[in-house]
């Protein structure tokens, strides 16, 4: 059986990737996002953020409430380009 555990399914970020980020010295989710790419795919962290926050808390000895989520980016859900192009041009 593979030992590979996927924490972010959009970007294939594994538990090992997150462990390596923590070993490297990162404990802030903004940094770990940029180091591993987690949370940058179609779900934008909606599936993986909590699981990775829990892993980071465990790896760094911080409590989960100390781990701040990364900045959420618009749009709220993936949205078609034609939707935004349907508005009158400013």
């Amino acid at each position: 059986m593979s030992k590979k555990i996927i924490l972010c399914r959009c970007e294939d970020v594994t538990a090992e990737d997150v462990e390596r980020a923590a070993r490297t010295g990162f404990s802030d989710l903004e940094e770990i996002k940029r180091y591993t790419g987690f949370g940058t795919g179609p779900c934008q962290g909606k599936e993986c953020l909590r699981g990775i926050a829990a892993a980071v808390a465990r790896l760094t000895g911080k409590s989960e409430s100390e781990i701040r989520p990364f900045t959420s980016r618009p749009p709220l859900v993936p949205t078609e380009i034609k939707f935004f192009a349907g508005t009158p041009r400013r």
Binding site: R20, R23, T24, G25, F26, S27, D28, E30, E31, R34, Y35, G37, T40, G41, P42, Q44, R73, P74, P75, P78, T79, E80, I81, K82, F83, F84, A85, T87, R89, R90
Partner: protein, 396 residues
């Protein structure tokens, strides 16, 4: 199997050293690349001070374009070298930067734009950059998905490229740290005193004394310069960018529309990444919020040039600051009014692509090695001298 060991020290909690030969303010691509190149030349008594986390500013927010299509010879030649550094980055540093050399295609709408384009192409060709003019039919052969009825012509250089900015930054950071550079994140410089042998930099983690200081703080560089009483002419301008869901690779070059500043490329991850210029007041505030006006403007621009993208979904938009200067060129070298205080800022949205080469020359300049004409052309003093050479091809 040996476990890979990455070597960024856990500097958020590590104590700050008391003294360094060079203190670099700013943990973006410019600061980290200078730190790495200094260490490569044997000067590893270097500390990098970053107020937030690495990649916080423009270095973590840009589109990763690396092009040689510029309108001044200095920029063309520098970017030729920078591209070569990018091509060798994986071998030199050991980090995959997801580079894809698909070229850049610029679209011109008017005869006036075509005239400027032809002048730039001639200059680029004289530097051995293989840019060529394309008519609309040829541009459509290159990218069949483009709708070009409103355009007059195009130019294309097949050797321009895109990279993924984040690993680029980690590569420099780790390579610098491995050679002894101390990188301190979450360590803003709050005050700088002049001392008999340099500077004393105050941070929440303590004071570090440095013989020389490099201000590589990008859009925050005017604030840093004020700590030594220096007024800089650069100012921040928010530029926004978005990313779509991934598609099968189809878009070979970065495509850019000259008049609107629209650019769009497909990364090796399959996403389309692009932006467009939206007016921003020059009031010296760094703004990083996202606007509906941007995504609407971008959607209109994309539907004009590639209407079949209408059903593609945008997954994320974000903003980054361009570090603007009056003549569109950077500010580098020692500030004559504050000896020992060096500047490397004002890159007008192109610091990421220029940092690899500029940092190499910067480290040589700082360590008494061969210098480069850029230290004369891009010195701070030019803004109070005479007319300067203007760069016209600032995009996005």
């Amino acid at each position: 199997m040996a476990r890979r060991r990455d070597t960024l020290p856990p500097t958020a909690t590590a104590p700050l050293r008391a003294h360094a030969e060079v203190a670099i303010i700013g943990g973006g691509i410019v600061g980290l690349a200078i730190a790495y190149n200094l260490a490569r030349l044997g000067c590893s008594d270097v500390v990098v001070l970053e107020g937030r986390h690495l990649a916080w500013g423009a270095s973590g927010r840009n589109g990763g374009g690396v092009r040689q299509q510029w309108s001044t010879e200095l920029n063309i030649r520098l970017m030729q070298e920078s591209l070569e550094i990018c091509r060798g980055f994986a071998q030199e540093i050991g980090t995959n930067i997801w580079m894809r050399q698909g070229g850049y295609l610029f679209l011109a709408r008017t005869a006036d734009e075509l005239g400027k384009m032809d002048k730039a192409i001639a200059l680029q060709n004289s530097c051995d950059v293989p840019t060529r003019r394309l008519d609309i039919g040829e541009a459509n052969e290159l990218v069949p998905e483009l709708a070009l009825t409103a355009f007059a012509g195009a130019c294309y250089n097949p050797t321009d490229a895109i990279v993924f900015p984040w690993p680029f930054l980690w590569g420099y950071a780790q390579a610098a740290a491995k050679r002894g550079v101390e990188i301190h994140t979450f360590t803003p410089v709050t005050a700088i005193d002049g001392t008999s042998d340099g500077f004393a930099l105050h941070t929440p983690k303590g004071v570090v004394r440095a013989a020389r200081v490099v201000n590589a703080a990008g859009s925050w560089s005017p604030q840093v310069a004020r700590l030594v009483g220096l007024t800089l002419p650069n100012w921040p301008a928010r530029h926004e960018i978005l990313s779509t869901e991934p598609l099968k690779p189809f878009l070979k070059p970065m495509v850019s529309v000259l008049d609107s500043g629209l650019y769009i490329s497909q990364s090796l991850r399959g996403e389309l990444v692009g932006g467009i210029t939206v007016h921003e007041p020059a009031d010296r505030e760094v703004r990083l919020g996202s606007r509906l006006a941007f995504v609407e403007e971008m959607a209109h621009g994309l539907m004009e040039i590639m209407p079949r993208l209408g059903d593609l979904k945008i997954v994320r938009q974000w903003a980054g600051p361009y570090d603007m200067t009056p003549d569109g060129n950077p500010i580098v070298g020692e500030a004559t009014d504050v000896p020992g205080f060096f500047l490397c800022c004002g890159f007008v949205g192109h610091g990421f692509m220029m940092a690899p080469v500029v940092a190499r020359y910067y480290a040589s300049h700082l360590t008494g090695g061969p210098t480069h004409p850029l230290f004369d052309k891009w010195r701070l003093g030019r803004f109070v001298d005479t007319a300067t050479e203007r760069e016209d091809m600032n995009i996005g």
